[in-house]
């Protein structure tokens, strides 16, 4: 184990075991398949195995996401939601990547993943109940393979890693993907998650949407790393970089990482370059930290326009499709409005029901107290 001949004390892994570190480094430029005008640049390393219906579906999902997102902002303005964190501008990153997963794969999201949620068919109004405060979470994670939205930054990366470790142990060929932001890469938890994933070769994908800001803090104040993807080598996994406003590139890069993980090769890190078009949340005032010009520049990279241009060039886009999608987005938006406006207020007595799963009667007196307060107030 030690190589006394030249007096060196080498690492306990043999040099021959070691993968070539340079393979873990990101390419100089993010992978990019679609120009803003829709021109497609095929890339043999990143093939697109999608038929016409699937290409249209990606577009449709982005359009629905944008519409629900807009509706959520309206609902917040109307006082129906307490707050909302928009994913506008990030639809391609989310939908391209989530679409690359198999049906049994899992997602461990942050609070901004409406697009990914819609790919997993999470009910849009249900998704928004977190923001309305009806209940802390509304969907059944096991029905959609979509974990609870995690608000404490980066913490869900560990849940994804543990889940993937479990799948690997169980011989179950599924992959877990976790989403977080550029800011999230600074927290200790994603660091520990990547460390565990590297060592256990857990089939987990760390998908980071680099939308340039953590609330008001720009990337340059977040890290001095050449790119976020350069972090991956430090955990013995590849760091990929992709143009996150290019839904095809997001799909293809993620797909490659997923296939690799499913084969048991190990985890991967993906940095998707994108831009947060809206305020951090509806409570935020971005005029304090970014300029109108910057925003206008960024708007020119809109992921939806780009995909529409591509579909048009391919003759996959026509007014029939346009009308159908418009119809559908309107429908979804009205369902969302109804789902929120008509939502039950939540039963206060349920507060005690899920604190412990094994029944315990230790807060009987508190249950009684609340019941009596409610009956006095006549509130329920």
């Amino acid at each position: 184990m030690t190589d006394a001949a030249n007096g060196q004390v080498p690492a306990s892994t043999d040099a021959s075991d070691r993968p070539d570190p340079l393979d873990f480094l990101p390419p100089d430029e993010p992978v990019h398949l679609l120009d803003p005008d829709g021109t497609y640049h095929p890339d043999p390393d990143h093939p697109i195995d999608l038929d016409d219906a699937a290409l249209r579906e990606l577009y449709r999902l982005m359009m629905v996401t944008r519409k629900v997102d807009r509706e959520a902002i309206n609902l917040q303005r109307q006082g129906q939601l307490g707050v909302y964190a928009s994913c506008m501008g990030q639809e391609a990153a989310q939908i391209g990547s989530a679409y690359a997963l198999g049906p049994d794969d899992w997602i461990f999201p942050s609070y901004r993943e409406l697009g990914a949620a819609l790919v997993r068919q999470v009910d849009a109004a249900g998704f928004l109940h977190l923001y309305r405060g009806t209940w802390l979470s509304d969907h059944d994670p096991y029905k959609h393979n979509f974990g609870l939205m995690s608000i404490p930054i980066g913490t869900q990366a560990l849940h994804a890693t543990g889940f993937a470790m479990g799948a690997r142990l169980d011989g179950n060929p599924i992959v877990a993907m976790t989403y977080y932001g550029d800011g999230g890469t600074s927290e200790g938890d994603p660091h520990e998650a990547m460390t565990f994933a590297g060592v256990t070769k857990a089939p987990v994908i760390f998908f980071v949407q680099n939308n340039q800001y953590a609330i008001s803090v720009p990337l340059a104040k977040q890290t001095a790393a050449p790119t976020l993807a350069h972090k991956a080598i430090g955990y013995g996994m590849p760091g990929y970089r992709v143009d996150g406003n290019d839904v095809l590139a997001s799909y293809a890069v993620t797909r490659r990482a997923i296939d690799r993980a499913r084969e048991g090769v190990g985890p991967a890190f993906i940095e998707a370059m994108t831009y947060r078009m809206e305020a951090h949340t509806t409570s935020d005032d971005p005029s304090r930290y970014r300029t109108q010009e910057e925003l206008e520049e960024a708007a020119k990279t809109d992921p939806i326009v780009r995909m529409r241009n591509f579909l048009t060039k391919r003759d996959l886009y026509d007014s029939a499709l346009e009308d159908a999608i418009e119809e559908q987005t309107k429908q979804v938006a009205s369902e969302v409005r109804a789902g929120i406006y008509d939502a039950p207020h939540g039963d206060p007595m349920e507060l005690f029901d899920h604190v412990y799963l094994d029944a315990t009667n230790h807060f009987e007196d508190q249950v009684a107290q609340l019941r009596s307060e409610l009956s006095q107030g006549g509130e329920v």
Binding site: E187, V217, D284, Y289, V355
Partner: protein, 323 residues
């Protein structure tokens, strides 16, 4: 011109920075944005990016570097953006900030003031309405204080920054918009002293931070029922001003503790334990606790049912008087 609690604290930070150039402010979004509650608004513009700066998104990093900066000789005033996001820094706060002065036998001073907006009542999403004060108060070596008025927001903040001990400074976020006509700067009682906010003879109500206003409202309502409530604002949660607590109970014979935090092992437990230890023969009723329930903080639409309010306090007043 009326001043809000948020403005009063902002003014205290500005005045502390003006007075002592060793004072530094940092955290997530405290710079250009001025903090999500604007408590650090304008400070970067006035004092520059060296003394008021945004950090990477990492709470353990914020407190751990604050310790290093304090060892160097600065007086850091780091912000934790919300109560629920202090937990990643728990290790640095509990194992290092609280212990290092003692471990070094007093050689290392750590005059760090951690600002934390805390508590509920603003309809926020999960993790944004926590009341973690008992965690800090149980930790020897930390001072824990919380203002219940804009005046205390100013004066206690100044005192915290000038103190050589580490202070966890809990800002009652739902009272950020509470106003006073008092002119700043203002000097109130020393932070270590509890203060009688309203004198009374029947029941002592102990409260702090966001619940001071609520307790005063309850006392007002109780007066209509003919009950005379004494409202005591604890201000310092660690150390507790036990003498003032006991003195009040000696006057009234009955006590209620009010806080948002869950009841089990909340500050109310310690206050009750001390009262019965020190004023056993004065008690005419058990010390009762009007608190949040022993459940995680509820979703926004249900918080009104969870949080202690005037009614919950009055219920207990009635129960205490029935003994």
């Amino acid at each position: 011109m009326a001043v809000t609690m948020a403005q009063a604290i902002n003014q205290a930070l500005a005045d502390a920075m003006a007075k002592d150039e060793r004072v530094l402010i940092f955290g997530e979004d405290v710079g250009k944005l001025g903090g999500v509650f604007r408590v650090t608004d304008g400070l970067q513009a006035t004092y520059g990016e060296d003394r008021v700066f945004d950090t990477p998104l990492a709470e353990s990093g914020i407190i751990g570097t604050a310790i290093g900066l304090a060892m160097y000789g600065y007086r850091p005033v780091p912000e934790m953006q919300f109560d629920g996001f202090t937990y990643p820094a728990f290790e640095q706060i509990v194992s290092h900030l609280a212990k290092m002065p003692n471990r070094s036998r007093g050689t290392v001073k750590l005059p760090v003031t951690i600002r934390i907006p805390f508590g509920g009542g603003i309809g926020a999403v999960e993790h944004h309405s926590e009341s973690p004060e008992a965690y800090w108060a149980h930790t020897a070596g930390l001072k824990v204080m919380t203002p219940g008025t804009p005046e205390d927001g100013y004066s206690m903040m100044r005192e915290a920054i000038e103190m050589d001990d580490p202070v966890v400074f809990l800002e009652p976020k739902r009272r950020y918009w509470m106003k006073t006509d008092a002119a700043m700067p203002v000097t109130t009682e020393p932070a270590r002293d509890a203060v009688v906010r309203r004198a009374g003879t029947d029941v002592s109500v102990f409260c702090y931070g966001p619940m001071v206003r609520t307790a005063l409202d309850a006392a007002e309502a109780a007066a209509d029922e003919g009950w005379s409530i004494e409202v005591v604002d604890l201000r310092s949660l660690s150390p507790l001003d036990t003498d003032a607590i006991v003195a009040s109970v000696e006057r009234t014979g009955r006590a209620i503790v009010v806080h948002e935090a869950a009841r089990n092992l909340g500050i109310g437990a310690e206050v009750a334990a001390r009262i019965q230890e020190r004023a056993f023969y004065h008690l005419e009723a058990p010390v009762l606790r009007a608190t949040g329930f022993d459940t995680p903080y509820p979703p926004a639409k249900l918080e009104e049912f969870w949080l202690p309010d005037v009614d919950r306090i009055l219920d207990l007043v009635e129960r205490a008087l029935a003994y």
